[in-house]
């Protein structure tokens, strides 16, 4: 097996907050394989977004090590090994759509012609060709999120970190976006770490689902999703899909100690 894309070893995270300490993550060890789609799921406040930020070196762990592509997370960030997609599209409102997609390339010093070509290619990938000259406010929420995916992929990072990217979308848009994301992953071979609190979403998208406990967040179980690929519209009606959803749900229920 090739080198893991992401490796967390005995990672703990404690925040200093007003009036004391918050133990966000406790003794997390996890490997994300190259080319894999891994979801982090758990109740809100379980530290799944924090974990994503540790992988991206946007936060530093209190204890343990985070390795991305065999390098310390800091080095991986400086090498621009990953792209990040947030819950809100975080497009810069003064930039047109194409200019937003070009932003990372601009920062990396790519010349204008190559930037424009790349932005056009990325907008085609997320099926927004022809929208390059629009401003973000002229697009719907789903389209804006597609632009932010195009932006994250513009510099061809091998890893995509996604923090509840479809959380703010309506159900129908959300399902369409899930299909598109899987198509994009097939086309690009990107490794994806995906934070969600939707059980069906995790089951539909993932190769594996890491189930987390409430604070302090621990990984209680990693579930293999044995659904055939590529996942298609009919996958959602497959009994094996319902079985996977049930397995994730049961796992979450077990840790919450719900009746």
């Amino acid at each position: 097996m090739s080198q893991p894309a992401v490796m967390l070893t005995e990672v703990s995270m404690v925040f200093e907050a007003a009036g004391g300490f918050v133990h966000a993550l406790d003794d997390i060890s996890l490997e994300v394989h190259d080319g894999e789609f891994l979801s982090l799921i758990g109740p809100s406040g379980c530290g799944k977004s924090t974990m994503l930020r540790l992988i991206g070196d946007l936060l530093e762990p209190t204890a343990g090590t985070v390795t991305v592509k065999g390098k310390p997370a800091r080095q991986a960030r400086l090498d621009r090994d990953y792209g990040m997609v947030f819950q809100t599209s975080t497009l810069l409102e003064w930039r047109r759509v194409a200019a937003n997609v070009e932003l990372p390339l601009e920062i990396m010093g790519v010349d204008a012609a190559a930037r424009a070509a790349r932005a056009a290619e990325m907008l085609r990938l997320v099926q927004l060709d022809g929208f390059g000259n629009h401003y973000p406010w002229q697009l719907s929420g789903g389209m804006q999120q597609r632009v932010s995916i195009a932006r994250a992929l513009a510099f061809q990072p091998s890893i995509l970190l996604m923090d509840e990217p479809f959380g703010a979308l309506d159900e129908m848009t959300r399902e369409r976006m899930q299909m598109e994301l899987l198509r994009i992953q097939r086309q690009t071979g990107t490794t994806i770490v995906f934070v969600t609190h939707s059980i069906p979403e995790a089951a539909f998208l993932s190769d594996r689902v890491a189930v987390m406990s409430p604070r302090p967040g621990r990984i209680t179980e990693v579930i293999d999703i044995e659904l055939p690929k590529p996942r298609i519209f009919e996958t959602r009606e497959d009994p094996r899909f319902f079985a996977a959803v049930t397995e994730v749900r049961e796992s979450l229920r077990a840790i919450e100690g719900a009746p």
Binding site: G56, L78, F86, T90, E93, W94, I107, M108, W137
Partner: protein
Amino acid sequence: MTTRWRRALPAFGVFVGFIALWEGVVRLFDIKGFILPAPLAILRAFPEAWPEVWPAAIGTFLSALAGLAVGTALAVVAAVGAARWPMVRAGAMPLAITANSTPIIVLAPVANAWFGLLSPWSTIVVVAVLVFFPVMINLVRGLLSANLSELELMASYAAGRRTTLWKLQLPGALPYMFSALKVASALSLIGAIVKEYFGGSQARLGQYITLKAGNFQFEEVWTAILLASAFGIGLYLLITLMERTFMGWHVSVRAANV
């Protein structure tokens, strides 16, 4: 274009009505010229007053503009520093906010003692100090308005502080900057004229107004008042034009253009 003119019609009507009402009231009640001259009387005073009042207005306007430029430039530097270093911010912001709540125009009579009666710098410095605080405070607020996700996005690109400032924080602060400039442009003319009331070159609006009022030449006083307000409006329009040019994307400008 035609809809634009049609939208301007009510404002134009009110303006004309206001002038007519002013003229009518002055005539009807036979108001004395030293209390309020009629618009037509002021208009008649213009040709004779012009050779004196126009250079005075230009001189005052240029001082105000220079003060506005100096004060704004210093405020931008200070704001970038305050946004960059929390220590600077913690130290400087309370002082800036206090100073902004102080009627700094009280400096006017003192400024002549600092730089000499005839030096243009005494006006420029008063205006610059007056303009500095509102611009700085608003710009700091604007620079710090970038939200956490946006800052994380820049960090994920391994963007340095300078890149983050140029690509994220400064464009994001433009709406704050233009609001501040609109306030500051009005302050700059007020500052310049009030400072000139306390002495300085005769060829300035403040001195012109003091002198003519002392001689009971109130039509001439009003020519100066009208020129001052014309320059104020011009400055405001210039800033609005810049705002539309550099900030067409912003919701405030979008709404204005609909």
